[in-house]
């Protein structure tokens, strides 16, 4: 699959097949520029492939998929809306919520979700009144509010400090457990990938392709303590060696 146009087109991603089961949490890791984000933008339908085809559940992807929720490295909250109003945004766009927009009921739903990620008391705040971690929590709530089948996360914790990041790993872990949503997480943090995912895919760069599919054998749900155990370290170490290597 190529990305870009004409002479500037880069063969970004070679044949990539991801088998994702419903409710599975997968992580895609790889060196920067390997096409992780491109892959995600292609799957979401944000970018049509310049060549090649992309199928999800056997059907070719033509435009943005309605059944996905996305969150990016930047929270991309709308500054003129407070937390609840930001979370409500997808419901104003996506059917069937759009046609029967029931504000009080939906606001309640948004509030519940914000409470679930630890933002009780901040629901009426505007983005600039929230810390980076809080903005990212809000952004994840926004990605989930319309109950998508799949959550696409593009380095959502990349801009956060280490402690906030680990806190949000746990938030994401609990959310995924409670809602049984399928998650695809793109990251370059191997600990993050191993801590959260059932399956980790390692990509190589130019052209991007999957060099390894690694099922994480650690029992779930995992506590942060797990990250300091030997089996965890071994998996991270193994993945790290794959990324350093030339293929």
């Amino acid at each position: 699959m190529a990305y870009g146009r004409g002479a500037a087109a880069v063969r970004a991603i070679d044949e990539v097949t991801l088998d994702i089961a419903r409710g599975e949490f997968i992580a895609v890791v790889g060196p920067s520029g390997c096409g992780k984000s491109s892959l995600m933008r292609l799957i979401s339908g944000l970018h049509p492939p310049a060549s090649g085809t992309l199928t999800v559940e056997g059907k070719p992807v033509a435009g943005p998929l309605k059944s996905v929720g996305m969150a990016f490295q930047n929270s991309n909250l709308l500054p003129w809306r407070n937390a609840i109003e930001n979370v409500l945004l997808p419901l104003e766009i996506v059917e069937p919520y759009r046609s029967n927009f029931d504000r009080p009921r939906f606001a309640e739903k948004a509030k519940d979700l914000l409470h679930a990620v630890g933002l009780a008391g901040f629901t009426e705040k505007h983005p600039w009144e929230l810390s980076g971690g809080m903005q990212q929590r809000t952004s994840i709530c926004r990605a989930l509010i319309h109950e998508p089948e799949m959550l696409l996360l593009d380095e959502p914790f990349g801009a956060l400090d280490a402690f906030t990041r680990e806190e949000l790993w746990c938030v994401l872990r609990d959310l995924q457990k409670a809602r049984k949503v399928t998650v695809m997480l793109v990251t370059h943090d191997l600990r993050e990938a191993v801590f959260l995912a059932d399956t980790v895919y390692v990509m190589s760069s130019r052209p991007g392709r999957i060099v390894r599919r690694c099922a994480v054998p650690l029992a779930r749900p995992r506590e942060l303590e797990v990250t300091y155990t030997q089996p965890f370290q071994d998996i991270v170490h193994e993945l790290r060696s794959l990324i350093g290597q030339k293929h």
Binding site: M70, L78, W80, L89, V94, H146
Partner: protein, 257 residues
């Protein structure tokens, strides 16, 4: 703290204004400046009071023609700005024409307007409109053009149409630009109305000043200038208040003292 803030915001401009008028008065008296060149403020305010009836009548005409022209400019500027920001092709096609149009001094258009519509309020309204819509168009289009693609992505990932993206992101995002441009536009509309009255009209502050000048009643000319300045400040302040009311989120730096 609050009181001090108030004293600075209201007290210092008032004090400065008084100082300017006192200095002007003293200068006129000290250098014995002839009335026909520069009347002292006492004479200007005397004239203002003495001729308050015609001045008020004519101010009213200038005010409503300005507001009418400004109103049309706002509606038209907003619509054209959105159209230009909507698509690159519309932008490319319309923008050069707009720049050309804006380069024509509007004083030169007034005779044409008078030819078409006769003496009266309509040329003044149209001049106010023609001179003031340009900044609105440019600002709205700029606001739309500079919308962060990431914000649009959030909506596009949900399958939103171009219209949705415009309504939920583009337009709210460009509102601070729009209201910012209104402050410029209202001042320009005012200039347009007065210019038109000065070139040819039967009413308005511009016309009044022209007549006073012909009769060498210099204090009335200056009284007219004072009225124009006061009206200008009032109109500017009104749009600034509206701006702060609608786009507080864009000025959070100052709001969260």
């Amino acid at each position: 703290m609050e009181q001090r803030e108030l004293a600075i915001r209201v007290g210092s401009p008032a004090l400065f204004t008084i100082v300017v008028f006192v200095a002007w008065e003293i200068a006129c008296k000290a250098f014995n400046v002839p009335l026909a060149i520069l009347p002292a403020p006492s004479e200007v305010f005397g004239a203002l009071w003495q001729y308050r009836k015609p001045i008020l009548d004519n101010s009213w005409v200038t005010l409503w023609t300005t507001l009418a022209g400004f109103g049309i400019a706002t509606a038209f500027g907003l619509a054209l700005g959105i159209a230009i920001g909507w698509h690159r092709a519309i932008y490319a096609g319309v923008y050069p024409v707009l720049i050309g149009f804006n380069s024509v001094p509007k004083v030169a258009v007034v005779p044409v307007l008078i030819l078409w519509f006769g003496l009266g309020e309509i040329p003044a309204i149209l001049t106010a409109f023609l001179i003031s819509f340009f900044p609105i168009v440019v600002n709205v289009a700029t606001g739309l053009a500079t919308t962060e693609p990431e914000l649009e992505d959030v909506l596009r990932a949900l399958g939103a149409s171009k219209f949705d993206v415009m309504r939920k992101v583009g337009i709210p995002r460009s509102l601070p630009y729009f209201f910012g441009s209104l402050k410029v536009a209202i001042t320009l509309a005012f200039v347009g109305a007065v210019v038109s009255e000065t070139v040819g009209s039967n009413k308005g502050i511009g016309k009044l000043m022209l007549d006073a000048q012909a009769a060498f009643q210099v204090p009335i000319v200056f009284a007219g200038l004072i009225v124009l300045a006061v009206l200008g400040i009032a109109l500017y302040a009104a749009t600034a208040v509206i701006e702060a009311r609608f786009t507080g989120w864009a000025f959070r730096g100052q709001a969260n003292r």
